[in-house]
Amino acid sequence: MGEVNSLYSEQVMDHFHNPRNAGGMENPDGTGRVGNPICGDIMELYIRVNNGIITEARFKTLGCGAAIATSSMVTEMVRGLPIEEALQISNKAVAEALGGLPSVKMHCSMLAEEALKAAIEDYYHKCGHVNTV
């Protein structure tokens, strides 16, 4: 058990067992929902935006260890970022921040990137922004 003989890195296990920002958000400025039950993962990401800056992000995820850990990590990574910068966050960056993911689990990090983009798109849509992601 633990770091030595684990499927996942220490950081993944930390975010899995102690997820940051887990749970819903009251009246979020943007919500992104991605994934599908067929592949087993559903991720919902909520953001609060103030003056173009993401001040808070939370998530609800049904999924494997990698899905939960990447959800947790992406909510940490976007907090305090201007929207334009948040849009630059790639799935690779999320995986790297977690000390890497097993190659078969990289698709889970795609979910985090897609959920974030979907949440920002929803925010743009809500405030009548002409830009799309």
Partner: protein, 391 residues
């Protein structure tokens, strides 16, 4: 923290008596069973003694047992060996859709070689209907393969009936008994089988050794060609310590199986009842009665299996899931899907398999931690078990 192992269907530890029986054959008595000298002939005697024990245990003739490196090899051997040797008679094979990958992938390989494969459906409990076996028969059918009990959901298959259909149709019948040997009586005569796969490491024997029973008179091609070992059916220097260990494991199973199965059934039912009582939104996968004494498989709504297994591991409990987020296909268990489960339920499956060292205290510990794990994961899930979306 004490480790609680509830994954005996994946593999079991070798019994200390098995290890003791194997020990001399690594150094003191290491000879090649094919050698003429005494050192070799002592090894030959040990291999033949193990063969006799296994033959007696499954009610076969000694010369009907061929040792292999695994259950996977035994299944490959049975399916490819029969297909290749009987191609002139026909090219049609009937197999259940819930077989182990070793059998299913062998059939997919044979399909590419021009064989025609029929995949039998199962009912909601994971059971094959003998009627569908009968309906799938064609004049070109040469072989049917249905396992004794399923490795994921534990459901027993009506092998006696299927074997009788095969016998009447003049078709070979292969049965994968890897999960059942040592748990329930396995008798090749009563089961009407022509070929039967078994593996040592599921019944407290060593890994790396299996066997295929091949009924006398069966036409089969070997997979391995070489020095003519195993009467030319499986060339390769015998895995001497492994084979001796297999023999020892079978001997122990013979004396302990009856009481042990009864004990495991009690623990199994205690576990199933506990999970159903303590957690909402549970579906028992597999047959409620016709199931392996050591198998529990449930789907937990609105959670994903791997996250449950990781949490249990954190508590020192080893379990398994049919959610296959790690497989390249991302598709959940083919067994659960064949039983008609939704992908969501299949991804939320948890398999707990018990064995010789499982105690009532282990079951209680599992029941103590599982509800908390499930509610923690559900609190994090965008789905709720009432079916309503969480806010």
């Amino acid at each position: 923290m004490e480790q609680i192992y509830l994954d005996y269907a994946a593999t079991s530890p070798a019994h200390p008596r098995v290890i003791k029986a194997m020990q001399p054959y690594y150094f003191a008595q290491f000879g090649n069973p094919s050698s003429i000298h005494t050192c070799g002939q002592q090894s030959r005697a040990a291999v033949e003694e193990a063969r006799s024990k296994i033959a007696a245990f499954i009610g076969s003739g000694k010369e009907e047992i061929v040792f292999t490196s695994s259950g996977t090899e035994a299944n490959n051997f049975a399916l490819k060996g029969i297909a290749w040797a009987n191609r002139k008679r026909g090219n049609h094979i009937i197999i259940s859709s819930i077989e182990h990958h070793a059998s299913l992938e062998s059939c997919r390989f044979l399909e590419k070689q021009g064989f025609d494969i029929s995949y039998l459906p199962v009912d909601e409990y994971g059971m094959v209907d003998p009627g569908s076996v009968k309906n799938s028969l064609k004049p070109e059918t040469i072989l049917m393969s249905v396992m004794h009990a399923n490795n994921e959901v534990g459901t027993f298959q009506p092998v006696v009936e299927i074997g009788a259909i095969a016998r009447q149709a003049g078709v070979y019948f292969h049965c994968d008994a890897v999960q059942t040997l040592g748990q329930v009586p396995v008798n090749v005569g009563r089961m009407n089988v022509d070929l039967l796969s078994v593996s040592a490491h599921k019944l407290y024997g060593p890994k790396g050794v299996g066997a295929l029973f091949i009924r006398k008179g069966t036409t089969i091609s070997p997979l391995l060609h070489g020095g003519g070992q195993e009467r030319g059916l499986r060339a390769s220097t015998e895995n001497l310590p492994g084979i001796v260990g297999f023999g020892a494991a079978v001997e122990i199973a013979g004396s302990e199986m009856e009481n042990e199965s009864r004990r495991l059934c009690r623990l199994r039912d205690q576990l199933i009842r506990g999970i159903m009582d303590d957690i909402e939104g549970i579906r028992l996968n597999g047959h409620p009665v016709a199931r392996l004494p050591n198998n529990v498989n449930v789907s937990i709504r609105c959670v994903e299996g791997e996250s449950v297994v990781l949490n249990l591991d954190f508590e020192g409990i080893c379990a398994s899931t049919g959610s296959a987020c790690t497989s390249s296909s991302l598709e959940p268990s083919h067994v659960l899907m064949a039983m008609g489960l939704s992908p969501e339920l299949a991804h939320g499956s948890l398999r707990l398999t018990l064995g010789k060292w499982t105690t009532s205290a282990h079951i209680e510990r599992l029941l103590e931690v599982l509800p908390g794990i499930v509610s923690r994961l559900r609190a994090m899930s965008p789905l709720t078990i009432s079916g309503k979306e969480a806010g």
